[in-house]
């Protein structure tokens, strides 16, 4: 409960974007009264409630990304278990999403305090410079209203906040540059035995595409995961070195990644960054007042007809009795000088649509995007140590950019460290095969499981999905949740640009499998929700290529940023063109998906937005920064 109904800043969503903005305002200002409204349950400050997530993970049957967390009907989260093939003309309404198709949107997010960073993998790649200029360089999608150069200082701040482990030299590819003498806060996370084995086997190997040779080089991936601090690191703002941040409420835990091999669904010790850390710091900074209200989903915002500013924010609270039989629901209204929607791309769009806000561009809800992951898998001839370490410690990044982007998707490549867990739910399925298909028990069963699993290899090729008119979020009176708030209605499809990308990926893949003598075991079933067939011409002959796309959990688009109020919802500071006191922030602002996982760029944008908001409160600006 809160007594005030007027705040300086109201932030909707206690995920990474909202938390960074709140913390940064706290760092730069004094005396601000900030409210954060979070739809889902959860606490920011204690480890006890996090421990409940851990226990839930251990005991849950289907260990999906959202499985450790709470999922009340009053603020439901989408689940990967609800993703199914869609019958023509029959929307799939089984889950939280209403999926109109023709294909289902394949990803989920998390509505709890801490947001989807509770289950993110932790990949913190920067975008490459050409990612910002897809239209002008390759005639596809749109350009960003920002350049890599402009983003650099924000990337550095985001890398400090998240605590990135990486190696600058190895990341200085694809035109990505760093400030002179820059190092990441921590040394790179050791690459897995598998990474090193592949690296050696693929030395000097290239792939030829459209007359260009691309090196198939295994490179470490920067990660938001505690490793060994780099003593050379100096934070630009305060000249301090980097000290790893442990678990919230149990700071001795999670100082270093311990190899729990469970970044998704939950790092049990919080060695992997999550937004609870940033939120906790924001709340504890007493120069300002930061109040977090959980279980408080926003239904809509109210626009003043005259000023076109956000006048009020409408939200409901739900409180369920301990025995679960009764829920007390109340409606509330608050106002803020500045309002920030930071509730996830789809949720932001949903709130704007429900509020009839930001209508000029007609872009709200449009261009929903996700990396489409073409996965394949096989068996190495010898043990490569699967099922150990962070989910991925390396990739093959050199095909993230090239002239080919005129014709097909660029992709980043993620090498998996957890065997066939993702595509085939091993080792459980291996055990079941051993018992049922092979009729084994005792030592023979042990030998079978050992032999199969220790050689398992999985690789993911993440296609950059283009912004497309066909992919959008809308709302419909017919579909509401238990509080009466709208559920997202999604229209979604893949196009040939991405399928052609997957086809080329399959060719690179074949080469890798061949050189490393990996026995192909991938199977693409017509019944899979992401199954596709792609008929295209190869050397003048028609050929059918089939595969399956999985979602990457990268929910991007729906309120794109741009240069004018006619072509975009927000400007490059994530300020709404239509409503001057409204910011709509997060990966939803990305005009294109790019070839990096979105979290780092989303965090960098949050810093940029925080700076812009600070300028709105000149009287509150701290004397010393």
């Amino acid at each position: 409960m809160i007594n005030d109904d007027k705040f300086d800043i109201v932030i909707v969503g206690a995920g990474i974007t909202g938390s960074i903005i709140a913390k940064e305002l706290g760092n730069q200002c004094e005396g601000l009264n900030i409210l954060i409204l979070e739809a889902g349950p959860g606490k920011s400050g204690d480890f006890e409630s996090y421990q409940k997530y851990n226990d839930k993970f251990y005991q849950t049957l289907a260990k999906t990304p959202n499985s450790p967390y709470t999922d009340p009907p009053f603020a439901p989260s989408p689940s990967v278990l609800d993703i199914a093939k869609i019958e023509k003309g029959k929307p799939d309404t089984n889950g939280y999403f209403v999926q109109n198709g023709p294909l289902p949107f394949l990803s989920n997010y998390n509505r709890n305090v801490g947001g989807t960073t509770l289950h993110w993998l932790g990949t913190t790649l920067r975008m490459c410079p050409n990612d910002f200029k897809l239209k002008s360089l390759y005639g596809r999608g749109v350009d960003w209203p920002l350049s890599y150069q402009q983003m650099q200082p924000y990337y550095r701040r985001a890398e400090f906040e998240i605590g990135v482990s990486g190696n600058v030299e190895e990341q200085s590819i694809l035109g990505i540059t760093f400030k002179k003498d820059y190092v990441f806060p921590m040394h790179k996370i050791p690459q897995s035995y598998l990474d090193n084995h592949m690296s050696e086997g693929l030395k000097g190997v290239t792939f030829s595409d459209e007359g260009v040779e691309y090196p198939i080089e295994v490179v470490s991936t920067p990660q938001g995961r505690n490793g060994m601090p780099n003593p050379l690191y100096r934070n630009e703002e305060n000249e301090l070195g980097f000290i790893p941040v442990g678990a919230v409420g149990a700071p001795d835990l999670g100082q270093r990644c311990e190899g729990n091999s469970n970044c998704v669904a939950i790092c049990p010790v919080q060695a992997k960054y999550n937004a609870l850390k940033t939120l906790d710091a924001a709340v504890k900074n007493k120069k300002n007042k930061v109040t977090v209200l959980s279980k408080s989903p926003v239904s809509h915002i109210e626009i003043d007809a005259k000023t076109q500013k956000v006048k009020q924010i409408h939200y409901k609270t739900y409180d369920t009795s301990e025995d679960g039989t009764q829920t007390n629901i109340e409606s509330h209204v608050v106002s803020g000088e500045i309002v920030v929607l930071a509730a996830n791309a789809i949720e932001n769009a949903k709130i704007l649509l429900a509020s009839d806000a930001c209508t000029t561009s007609g872009q709200v809800g449009k261009n929903l995007m996700d990396h489409l992951v073409y996965i394949n898998w096989g068996l190495f001839p010898k043990a490569i140590g699967a099922f150990r370490g962070p989910g991925s410690t390396s990739g093959i990044p050199n095909m993230r950019d090239g002239e080919f982007r005129k014709n097909r998707s660029a992709f980043r490549v993620e090498i998996g460290n957890w065997g066939w867990t993702w595509p085939a739910n091993t080792p459980e399925s291996t055990m079941l095969d051993g018992i049922y298909a092979e009729g084994l028990f005792g030592q023979e069963l042990i030998d079978y499981i050992k032999d199969q699993t220790s050689r398992q290899f999985r690789i993911g090729w993440e296609m950059e999905q283009l912004p497309s008119e066909e992919n959008f979020v809308s709302i419909d009176e017919k579909y509401k949740d238990a509080l009466g708030n709208y559920r997202p209605v999604i229209n979604y499809n893949f196009n040939d640009y991405e399928k052609e990308g997957a086809y080329i990926a399959s060719k690179v893949s074949e080469k890798i499998y061949d050189i490393l003598k990996i026995d192909v075991r991938s199977e693409y079933e017509k019944s899979s929700p992401g199954y596709f067939e792609y008929i295209h011409e190869v050397n003048g002959k028609k050929e059918t290529f089939e595969g399956t796309f999985a979602g990457a959990g990268h929910v991007v688009g729906c309120h794109r940023m741009g240069t004018t109020k006619n072509n975009s919802v927000v400007d490059s500071n994530q300020r709404s063109h239509d409503h001057k006191n409204l910011f709509v922030a997060g990966a939803g602002s990305f005009p294109t998906l790019a070839t990096s996982n979105p979290t780092l760029t989303m965090s960098a944008l949050a810093f940029r937005t925080a700076d812009e908001i600070v300028n709105e409160f000149p009287k509150n600006k701290s004397k010393k920064k």
């Binding site: 226990d55 005991q59 729990n260 010790v269 043990a383 023979e444 069963l445 042990i446 499981i449």
Partner: protein, 154 residues
């Protein structure tokens, strides 16, 4: 076999079905819990019959090899006892009780406890499938920073 010695026979047949020795099985700390799980779902009579079948085979087959063979043909492949054997393996390996096959349920049990479930958070952590894989269960028994770079033990 009296009721108090049943658990010893349960451990005994578990050794053969899982392939792990008594020290390993004891080390999980889950044996009593698993035995009571099986007993509660099968009921007093069925568990007794099952373990008695095993006791008989054990007395008839003195060499481990012969006993293994006998368990395979008389229990593991048997329509009545096969699903029980398989569930005992899965219990030790995954810490999870899998709902029995429909046909078996129709014939042998009406227990409402016969549902898919992971027995306790610790059962998950003690799943012997990870021992077979040669690695730790995800989110538990973490091997330490950087260990994933070491060559796998064979």
């Amino acid at each position: 076999m009296n009721e108090s010695s049943q658990i010893d026979f349960f451990y005994d047949i578990s050794l053969i079905l899982t392939g792990y020795n008594r020290v390993k099985l004891n080390g999980t700390g889950q044996g009593e819990l698993y035995f009571s799980t099986v007993k509660d779902i099968l009921g007093k009579n069925l568990i007794k019959d099952f373990l008695s079948e095993y006791e008989l085979l054990k007395s008839e087959n003195k060499s481990p090899k012969a006993l293994n063979k006998a368990i395979q043909t008389e229990l593991f492949k048997d329509p009545k006892w096969g699903p029980v054997c398989k569930n005992i393996i899965k219990l030790w390996y995954m810490g999870k009780w899998y709902k029995m096959p429909t046909l078996w349920r129709e014939n042998y049990t009406t227990s409402t406890l016969d549902e898919d479930k992971i027995i306790t958070p610790n059962s998950y952590k003690e799943g012997l499938v990870w021992e077979a894989v040669g690695q730790h269960p995800p989110s538990a028994k973490q091997p330490g920073y950087g260990t994933w770079a070491f060559p796998p033990k064979n």
